[in-house]
Symmetry: C2
Subunit: 123 residues, 2 copies
DNA sequence: GAAAGTAGTTCCCTTTTGGAAACTACAATA
DNA sequence: TATTGTAGTTTCCAAAAGGGAACTACTTTC
């Protein structure tokens, strides 16, 4: 009867756990998935476009989340030389690899909600 | 030139956004994925087993996260009539549906880390 | 009788997150 | 010249999240 971790001590589990922490650290926060999802759907959006698209977000959080996403190379930011300067936010190649994950998450959420509702209906 | 949301106003996007919020609310926090992953891997673990398996977690957070997961029907809790009472935590059917999502997240994390390291190496 | 193992809870604290409102700054428009 | 639109930043605050340490309570083993 050993009293040490047995499951998560394996190198493969360590790697996966680390990978999950990595992923969570760049995807954490209330708005990241919504912003990324919006930019995957409609490509090249301005700051004010995103502010209108992402329901409920304010300028401070939008600005902060966009900076995070840019630092982590999931979106790109391009300042255009227009009068009122405009900024073009777009998904990067790296960011687009999140598409299956976002789909998976959305589909799981839909299925989960349905399963909970069924359970309650059958009670 | 309309100044209202165009992308996320569609019913399908609304549904997806809501689903993502649902999923995030039950999966939020630093430890949920680690606990769920551990319970998917090794089935039926006690409180102290989980405390040893989930690296870095303390009793307070473990207790709280397990309660959350149980309320949301992703894990089950069964008190056994043993001397020192023991408790068996296990993944539920509902919880097991997260398996593909956790895999996706872990694999994305691995690929993302590799892509960032490559980028920096090529600089 | 003391130690160790079971499974937690409670208290107190710091850090992180999120948000509202006001503000900057510049240019075109009415 | 006042308003509107661009893209943010700053300040101030409240709530949530996270964690260490001590504590409960019960039983078996040393």
């Amino acid at each position: 009867m050993r009293k040490k971790a047995q499951i998560n001590e394996t190198p493969i589990c360590q790697l996966r756990m680390q990978a999950i922490s990595d992923a969570m650290s760049v995807l954490s926060g209330k708005w990241k998935f919504h912003i990324l999802g919006t930019l995957i759907e409609g490509n090249k959006l301005g700051f004010m476009d995103l502010l209108r698209e992402v329901n409920g977000i304010g300028t401070k959080m939008l600005s902060k989340e966009l900076q995070d996403l840019e630092v982590n190379q999931l979106i790109s930011r391009k300042v255009l030389d227009t009068k009122p300067i405009t900024v073009e936010y777009a998904i990067t190649e790296n960011g687009r690899t999140l598409s299956p994950l976002i789909d998976e998450l959305a589909n799981w959420g839909i299925a989960y909600r349905a399963s909970i509702l069924n359970k309650n209906t059958n009670d």
